[in-house]
Symmetry: C2
Subunit: 233 residues, 2 copies
Amino acid sequence: MSVRALVFDVFGTLVDWRSGVAREAASLLAPYAPNLDAGAFADAWRGLYQPSMETVRSGRRPFVDLDTLHAESLPDVLGRFGVAGVPPGVAAELVQAWHRLDAWPEVPEALARLRGRFLLAPNSNGPVRLMVDLARRNGLVFDAVLGAGYSRDYKPKPALYRDAVAAFGFTPAETMMVAAHSSDLEAAASHGLATAHIARPHEHGPAGGELTPSLPVTYAAADLADLANQLGC
Amino acid sequence: MSVRALVFDVFGTLVDWRSGVAREAASLLAPYAPNLDAGAFADAWRGLYQPSMETVRSGRRPFVDLDTLHAESLPDVLGRFGVAGVPPGVAAELVQAWHRLDAWPEVPEALARLRGRFLLAPNSNGPVRLMVDLARRNGLVFDAVLGAGYSRDYKPKPALYRDAVAAFGFTPAETMMVAAHSSDLEAAASHGLATAHIARPHEHGPAGGELTPSLPVTYAAADLADLANQLGC
């Protein structure tokens, strides 16, 4: 069974969240924290990502989108870095930093090549507008936007993988999850999806990133252009 | 408040469902109904569209997608035209006719112009894959796919309009529903959306189509290119 549709993790896989959030934090927080370690700030904020989503995944609260979770976790991060006096408008602008991330350099061209052969959609924990903003900023064209907005839950809950398969209407084996994170691919594989791992050695800055998948995958690629090469695009 | 996002009705507004379904029915049913009035067949099938969706809108059954509703209503239409002996594979192919409709002639270029100024999404009763197939066939590029797939209900239920506004994150007044049907625009306006009416004098073939809206609208246009002109694109 050959692959017909690709669904993508986005933060880390297609875009460089750490550099983008650090850049915006350094700029927006300069008046309140002139000596901020902006990379560490981005790491700390991202560190609250899984626990914040878990409040939804667990059913403890109704679905709220990632903008809301980012806004809720921001005061904690600011507190950890001793940053005080940030006006609400600046905090709101900082939440929007997640909408202004740059794609990894090879992504726009590689995605356009992949679009010649496959249906494409983000399958991310970010909401529709965030996906649209990242796509417009980086010149990425998708066929649809799936993920948390579409499924009203967060990966790795089954709905995200099942809904992505059903939305494009191919079999699970014809639908491939593309991610830089083995945990995402493990969940996708458990629902029968094909899997492609993208190495992102700089996702976490000095702390590196996943160089190779920790489970057997359908494709393991050095970057998205390598995946397009392997798929004959 | 100026418009920032356009959400589109699709069947009749962007694509010519009657000619496309008639073309496919004439071709696929030729062995079983050589003298079929294919335009009337398309009209009869479309005539079951609202009653079939009402079974979902009313809550009498859980959400099922439009492909399912089309498949369920097809035997009734075949019976009305005295067409017998259609194999299941041919019937399934005929349901796919709704995925192979042509855009009205000015739509691809006009939509590309609109995309330079606005975020765009279909807000149709068709499912994601159907929207994707129509977009790919006709070279239409959207930012997201909203509508029945996203909201798990059918227009004119409130979820379709509220979810479309929320997905792009603008105010209702900044979000404009574009449709060739006053009923759709009336529902959109009741949720505060801006409205654009597109005249489609040939939607129903010899029976015509809506030339002008039956309610006050934000824009009334002769076709999508005219709307792009009026919006300064």
